[in-house]
């Protein structure tokens, strides 16, 4: 994962990102992007995949990096945009859209927050030859904002709003991002979870059991709160 010195490996990738570059990525590598990226989240996915509206641009010709994000931006009187900061939004919510989206858009890199499940990587990302890069923090909005050199387009902004529009950004040294999934479908988060989980039982040792069961945290409606 990391070199023994504690220093992480740094990689610059240019869009559209090539398969051989993705092949070289290892979990925990620090990535910076150069080129073009676009935002797309639930409203874009729904419009294209459910309502059958064609994407506003030929995405396959444009770039293969899809960013799960809503920028902090405002529109100037002359129609240009002022983008202050950008932060990713939690990606797991888009799990159901991604199989079709990767196919339709040709996206090979998903940039977001929190990653997906290893199951999603195996079922969806690996067959599509795609990887997941996670933003860092997750509050690195100012650093990511610095990486945005120009707003090329803000498609569908009038009806979807600032948060849900499809923004196309020209980026330079956009990051830092961490490689969360590789082309084999391994997950950095799940790898860390497994290590953390090993130590959890000891934390609860000696604490007496709760008086009331943890209601609201079971799916079994037959469960009682007491006992």
């Amino acid at each position: 994962m990391a070199e023994p010195s504690g220093k992480l490996k740094e990689v610059r990738l240019t869009t559209p990102v090539r398969h051989e570059d993705l092949r070289r990525l290892e979990l925990g590598d620090v990535v910076y992007l150069d080129g073009l990226i676009y935002t797309g989240r639930e409203s874009v996915y729904k419009r294209v995949l459910q309502d059958g509206v064609a994407p506003p641009v030929d995405l396959k010709a444009l770039t293969n990096v899809n960013f799960h994000c809503s920028p902090a931006a405002s529109r100037n009187a002359d129609g240009t945009f002022n983008v202050g900061a950008v932060t990713a939004t939690a990606s797991f919510r888009f799990s159901k859209w991604l199989p079709k989206w990767l196919e339709v858009s040709g996206a090979k890199v998903i940039v977001g927050k929190g990653g997906m499940s290893e199951q999603d990587y195996r079922d969806t990302f690996v067959p599509a030859g795609a990887v997941y890069l996670t933003t860092v923090g997750y509050g690195t909005g100012a650093l990511l904002g610095r990486g945005i050199k120009r707003v090329r387009d803000a498609h569908w902004i009038d009806d979807l709003g600032i948060a849900q529009a499809m923004w196309v950004f020209e980026v330079e040294k956009f990051g830092p991002l961490l490689v969360e999934s590789d082309l084999d479908g391994n997950s950095l988060f799940e790898r860390n979870n497994r290590i953390v989980n090993q130590g959890l039982a000891r934390l609860y040792e000696g604490l007496k059991p709760p008086s009331l069961a943890r209601y609201g945290e079971t799916d079994d409606r037959r469960d009682e709160l007491i006992g």
């Binding site: 202050g84 650093l143 904002g145």
Partner: protein, 326 residues
């Protein structure tokens, strides 16, 4: 005491606009120093990398005057009104000005318009709407100023409530605390290391309010004046950092920058508890408006005054007074 001059509505709007920008852009020093200390001791390489990236991020935000995080959270206000303070136009004008300042700052900074109608998802594109921004009040004796504090707390993860019982005791508190931090800490959903606020007691709504205020309105290093509660704050901070989890849920030790507990007298049969994580963008800023027009800015809201935490009443039970006279 002669009436103090009225505090001008224009100044209130100016102060509210300024604290919106300050909160969004400038990380408070107490939190910054807390993270710097953690970055120097974190042994998990990924977690340490995240902390270093955050330190860089806050510098970039200040240098470029851009928000530290694009997620605005849910901007809200805490207003403390001195007992002798008078406001031009009264409290209704104060609220009008605060709403206007919120909308203006959303455009000017810019901040992401985060607030939408919960069902229709309508977005006014200005962080103002029904019950938004929330404005909470408290009062202070022997003061002629008003404090306007804004907090932009991240909205989605890291907060929970549970009804515990007296028999659960401190064990129950630790259990629920661990449950919450572990659940929301994985993958860094809580954007930790956080200032963790705990509300203990009250009824369900007060319990939530106290915990949130404990997280958002007290600074790193501050301890509750009750020594027993202060000791528990220390203990829970250490416990949170021994989970084995750091920033983004990576292996490490940086989970809790500080832990603050606030209590309220509660039902004799219960011990409700809430946990709140104030995230890597711990955004808070305060302005004090004086009647002579001066405005002073700071990052410590000084919300929990002895007056706010009072537990006395100016009344004596008949039993106590008869004992005294006997």
């Amino acid at each position: 005491m002669p009436h103090a001059p009225k505090i001008a509505a224009d100044r209130i709007e100016e102060a509210a606009h300024t604290v919106m920008a300050k909160a969004g852009i400038e990380i408070p020093d107490d939190y910054l120093h807390g993270i710097q200390a953690m970055a120097s001791t974190e042994s998990g390489d990924l977690s340490a990398f995240v902390l270093r990236a955050m330190l860089e991020n806050w510098e970039a935000a200040k240098a470029d005057r851009r928000p530290m995080c694009a997620d605005t959270g849910v901007p809200r206000y805490y207003v403390k009104i001195g007992n002798e303070a008078r406001i031009e136009g009264g409290p209704v004008e104060l609220e009008r000005r605060i709403r206007r300042a919120t909308a203006r700052a959303t455009h000017d900074v810019p901040l992401r318009p985060n607030r939408v109608h919960p069902l229709s998802r309508r977005d006014n594109d200005n962080n103002v709407g029904i019950n938004a921004p929330e404005i909470e009040y408290s009062f202070e004796p022997d003061a002629d100023w008003i404090d306007v504090t804004t907090v932009h707390k991240g909205g989605l993860f890291g907060t929970d409530y549970r009804m515990l019982f007296p028999a659960d005791g401190v064990d129950g508190i630790k259990r629920f605390y661990l449950d919450t931090l572990i659940a929301f800490g994985k993958r860094g959903l809580a954007c930790q290391p956080a200032i963790v606020g705990i509300g203990l007691g009250g009824s369900k709504d007060t319990c939530m309010v106290l915990g949130k205020q404990a997280a958002c309105l007290r600074v790193v290093g501050d301890r509750n004046p009750d020594p027993e509660i202060a000791a528990l704050e220390d203990e829970l901070k250490t416990l949170g950092n021994s989970i084995g989890m750091g920033a983004m849920g990576f292996v490490g030790s940086s989970m809790v920058v500080d832990c603050h507990i606030e209590v309220g007298y509660t039902h004799t049969g219960g011990m409700p508890m809430s946990v709140h994580c104030f995230c890597l963008s711990s955004r808070r800023a305060t302005a004090r408006l004086h009647p002579d027009g001066r405005i002073e800015y700071r990052t410590d809201p000084e919300w929990f005054t002895p007056y706010l935490r009072r537990d006395t009443v100016e009344w004596q039970s008949p039993a106590a007074s008869s004992k005294k006279s006997a």
